[in-house]
């Protein structure tokens, strides 16, 4: 039995999580009891809560502590991840509100569920025992399932929610199975203890075997959450079926949490087994890049296309973890941040096209966009080129850093495979550009969006270019996390 020590002064290190939990409870009560005309403030309160959570996390950058008997870790990586989770979520909620209001889906549970899942992510990021990590994962996932199902009169959304739920449950099961193996051998749930037990030098061959066995399941669980091939089957259907705002949320912020899960379990916990899991990731990465690039070619639904594009981006992220060096992990984290920024802008642009009674989710909905709203077309142009890895946009640098690390660790062939598929994937990004710039609109379209959405989307687009001009700082930051 382990002793559970609790020291009240340790609470200072969980301020972001505590605050967010308290805020969620208050907002929930507020929304329940307030008069109808004040209900619109739930959104603003949620944004405020996220902002403060982000600031609290920002305040903790530089602190490091392992608290609650080793089950919760606070380090620079965790705090930085939390800041990014909060800020990306703020952007996502701005985009979401427009989508929800034009489609009559604007119910305040949406924001509360989103906040709840963010809480789960924060817990995951700082989880330092198998139990905390699993709890965080489930808080996040269950809220996301419900979030998809908020569009309860859409058959596709219900299908997506169910699919995500069933497959997610299987993934959780696999993850738990792996965790039980690890626990069985090490007799401990705390990551630090597992790490000190699982040093190859002191292990019996039998123990190595079982740890390896558990490791495979951990990798599968992580790969499932990230949507890496061959555990990607849920991604296209869930992306397509979910309301666009949920797809956006799903495809962005939880990836940070999934990366945190990977870091905690594999890099912090099983670093001696790096060789084993890196080999697994290599296979997953190549398959993801390949399948993601090839299958996206034939999609006509833009959400489905972006789903496959996400899969191929995840492949690149995993390449960073294959390298087994800190700079490689840093590049992977930089890639994730770049990817989220691009993905947010892409979905933001799709959401801009939505209007009352019209769900924009086909590539053809972008026809002639450059004529009637050149500014949004320009943003989408930057996003698509960036995703294709064309300089001077951020997406080029994220690929460059990954390739740099991959080549420096001697995997030149992997780099060549990756760039070949990058060229193939450029084709479908070009299709979007073609649709926006070279085709004429079928009918008159008026794109109208609220000011906050326009401003945030413009900033989002500008960041894709500006970080591209000064990528050094962000790369430094990402590497310094490890």
């Amino acid at each position: 039995m382990m002793n559970f020590n609790f020291n009240i002064s340790e609470l200072i290190f969980v301020m972001p999580e505590l605050f967010l939990l308290a805020a969620i409870s208050c907002i929930l009560l507020f929304d329940l009891y307030v008069k109808e005309e004040f209900k619109k403030f739930t959104y603003h309160l949620s944004q405020l809560a996220l902002l403060i959570t982000g600031l609290l996390a920002f305040n903790l950058i530089g602190e490091s502590a392992i608290i609650f008997s080793g089950t919760f870790v606070l380090d620079t990586l965790g705090s930085t991840f939390k800041v990014f989770i909060a800020s990306f979520s703020i952007i996502a909620l701005v985009y979401s509100r427009h989508y929800l209001s034009v489609h009559g889906l604007l119910r305040n549970e949406y924001f509360i569920l989103a906040l709840m899942s963010i809480l789960g992510m924060l817990v995951m990021v700082s989880g330092h025992s198998l139990l905390t990590l699993y709890l965080g994962l489930e808080i996040m996932s269950l809220s996301l399932y419900a979030l998809i199902a908020t569009a309860r009169d859409r058959a596709f959304a219900i299908e997506a929610a169910l699919k995500y739920f069933v497959l997610g449950a299987i993934a959780s099961g696999l993850l738990l199975y792996g965790m039980s193996m690890i626990y069985g051998i090490t007799g401990n749930l705390v990551i630090a203890e597992i790490a000190s037990f699982a040093s190859l030098a002191s292990l019996e061959p039998q123990e190595t075997l079982i740890l390896n066995f558990g490791l495979v399941f951990l990798v599968i669980g992580v790969a499932f959450k990230l949507g890496a091939v061959p555990f990607h089957m849920w991604v296209p259907d869930v992306y397509q079926g979910s309301p666009t705002s949920v797809t956006m949320f799903l495809s962005t912020v939880p990836k940070i949490a999934a990366i945190a899960l990977l870091v905690r379990l594999l890099i912090d916990g099983l670093s001696d087994f790096q060789h084993y899991w890196a080999d697994l990731f290599m296979i997953l990465a190549v398959l993801s890049i390949g399948v993601g690039s090839l299958v996206a070619l034939t999609q006509v639904n833009i959400k489905r296309m972006l789903a496959y594009s996400t899969i191929s981006h995840i492949g690149f992220v995993l390449l960073g973890f294959v390298t087994g060096v800190l700079e490689g992990y840093g590049s992977a984290v930089f890639y994730v941040f770049a990817y989220i920024l691009m993905s947010l802008a892409a979905f933001g642009s799709i959401i801009v096209l939505n209007r009352s009674g019209f769900e924009a989710d086909q590539i053809s909905d972008f026809r002639g966009l450059s004529k009637h709203s050149p500014w949004f077309a320009l943003i989408m142009l930057a996003v698509m080129l960036s995703m294709a890895g064309v300089p001077p946009f951020i997406g080029f640098y994220s690929k460059l850093f990954i390739l740099q690390q991959v080549v420096s660790e001697g995997y030149v062939i992997l780099a060549i495979i990756a760039v070949i598929f990058a060229v193939i994937s450029a084709y479908y990004y070009l299709q979007i550009i073609k649709t926006m710039y070279f085709d004429d609109a079928d009918k008159e379209i008026v794109v109208s969006a609220p000011l906050d959405l326009k401003v945030i989307l413009s900033l989002n687009g500008a960041l894709i270019l500006l970080i591209g001009l000064t990528p050094g700082f962000w790369m430094n930051l990402s590497v310094s996390l490890f």
Binding site: F396, Y437, P471, N476
Partner: protein, 515 residues
């Protein structure tokens, strides 16, 4: 000025951005602003020529600042005698293109002008980057405006052409990226000069050479990776064709000068024969292909490929002329003089500049006809001289230059390359000289069918001769073509020392243990 190169790069890019903001609704303001910016950039770029020190091969107008510190990537600019003429060619062509699009472009004027301005800045960046990663960023970024120019303002089949153009060149350059990263991991620096002095085994050089070759050969374009060019040229608007032929193709040639020869000298020597064979195929076979074209733009596109074959021939014939002995003395092979090695390389450079003028002029000539009758088919025309005598005068001059008539710039470069090749191998020179016949055949035959003969199409007899704007553009180009043809000395002088330095680099082995 300390930061002249930065100004030349960023003035057009930021200027293009502001032209975008002016918007398509205020087209004439956008046009005037763009013309002003491009002329200003051209005038500023003259400073590069006038302040250029022709006695050194070192980089001039150097600027250096840290950019991505953890990978040693610098914002590092500079020019030498090889890149400087190409930069001036760029600023010169951009002015022409912007004025050439004056009345022709009615659709999204501001966007059109902005695309060309941004393109100008990016391409100057390509020619002046001294850090390979900075170079790569500009190199790839140049695809974006061209993609949009072809796709938005192009002809019937523009989407196919635009995407083919993009993917072809993108595929070519990603392998260059991998080899740049590979060399960074060996030498710890992305600086081009460090890569030039990095020792590499023949096997490493071989891989890097082919990776570079793919990138540059697609751009030049060389046989057999040339197929994107006719499509892109035919579909692109006149301005797009001009920039494509006059400048973008030169990015490939420049790559051979700046990267392939100095970074992989042993591999370049080893594989020179293969490159020469491909160049000769381009010169002769593509020349014959040009002969049978019915579309004027396609004909000129193929003639571009054929003429660019001289550039690669001139560069790689070097290895059959000269070698370096163990004491670092230049030795000639088979009794050739050292001058003939210079002839090949300098001829290649002159050919690039001259082709920039001539191809620009030829595409503008076709553009003038296309604006009037909206047809590029040779068969639409016939007897144009009757209604457009002034225009025909220019057209015939440029056609003669394209065919390599002595006294025009087309002759100088080709003649120098052929002379150089003659020292290397009689048959290289013989096959290359075939172009004087084939080139004359396809160009003059086109002139005969378009400008001479009876008027068959009644529309042709109603054509208006060129207006003063068109006259001005063509006259400037005519002066450039004749000047280069009669007195190429200033251009040769500018590049001579840099070429000498390149010659030394290209003939010095980099294989460790053989130094």
């Amino acid at each position: 000025m300390d930061s002249l190169l930065s100004i030349l790069i960023w003035l057009p890019i930021l200027g293009g951005g502001s032209v975008l903001l002016i918007g398509n609704n205020r087209g004439s303001l956008a046009k005037w602003a763009s013309a002003l910016i491009s002329i200003l950039v051209f005038i500023l770029s003259i400073n590069l020529f006038s302040d250029f020190d022709t006695t050194t091969s070192a980089m001039q107008f150097v600027e250096k600042a840290s950019w991505i510190s953890q990978f040693n990537i610098f914002y590092h600019l500079g020019v030498d005698g090889i890149s400087m003429p190409l930069i001036i060619l760029t600023t010169f062509s951009t002015v022409l293109v912007i004025i050439a699009g004056w009345e022709v472009i009615q659709n999204r004027v501001a966007d059109y002008m902005a695309a060309f301005l941004m393109m100008e800045g990016i391409i100057i960046g390509v020619f002046s980057a001294m850090d390979s990663m900075l170079y790569y960023v500009f190199w790839e970024a140049s695809l974006i405006p061209m993609l949009l120019i072809i796709g938005v303002w192009g002809g019937q089949n523009r989407v196919y052409a635009a995407i083919k153009f993009f993917l072809y060149t993108f595929l070519g350059s990603v392998f260059m990226l991998v080899s740049l990263i590979y060399m960074y991991n060996l030498g710890g620096s992305f600086a081009i000069s460090d890569m030039q002095s990095l020792p590499l085994t023949l096997v490493q050089q071989g891989w890097i050479f082919w990776a570079f070759f793919l990138a540059f050969a697609v751009k030049v374009p060389m046989f057999p990776v040339h197929t994107w060019l006719p499509d892109a040229h035919v579909q692109a608007p006149t301005g797009g064709s001009v920039i494509l032929a006059a400048i973008m193709l030169k990015m490939g040639g420049y790559g051979f000068f700046r990267f392939s020869l100095p970074i992989t000298p042993d591999a370049s020597s080893y594989f020179a024969f293969a490159v020469i064979v491909l160049s000769l195929i381009a010169i002769v076979y593509i020349g014959f292909v040009a002969l049978v074209q019915k579309d004027m733009k396609k004909l000129i596109a193929y003639s571009s490929i054929s003429h660019m074959g001289f550039v690669t021939l001139g560069v790689f014939a070097l290895f059959s002329i000269m070698k370096m002995d163990s004491n670092g003395e230049l030795l000639s092979i088979a009794g050739a003089s050292i001058e003939s090695a210079y002839l090949g390389l300098e001829g290649a450079m002159i050919q690039m500049v001259s082709h920039g003028f001539i191809s620009a002029a030829m595409f503008l000539v076709v553009g003038v006809l296309y604006d009037r009758l909206h047809s590029r088919e040779i068969s639409t025309y016939g007897g144009v001289v009757n209604s457009m005598p002034k225009f025909t005068g220019f057209a015939v001059l440029f056609a003669m230059a394209n065919a390599g008539l002595p006294g025009t710039s087309g002759f100088v470069g080709e003649f120098m390359v052929i002379l150089g090749a003659l020292q290397a191998n009689f048959w290289y020179a013989f096959l290359a000289a075939m172009t004087l016949i084939v080139g004359a055949a396809y160009t003059l035959w086109m002139v005969k069918r378009v400008f001479w003969g009876p008027v068959i199409n009644p529309e042709v007899s109603k054509l208006n001769d060129i207006n003063s704007r068109e006259f001005g553009i063509l006259a400037v180009l005519a002066v450039a073509v004749l000047w280069m043809g009669v007195y190429p000395q200033p251009v040769i002088e500018v590049m001579h020392v840099s070429i000498a330095n390149l010659l030394e680099q290209a003939l010095t082995t980099k294989i460790p243990g053989m130094l």
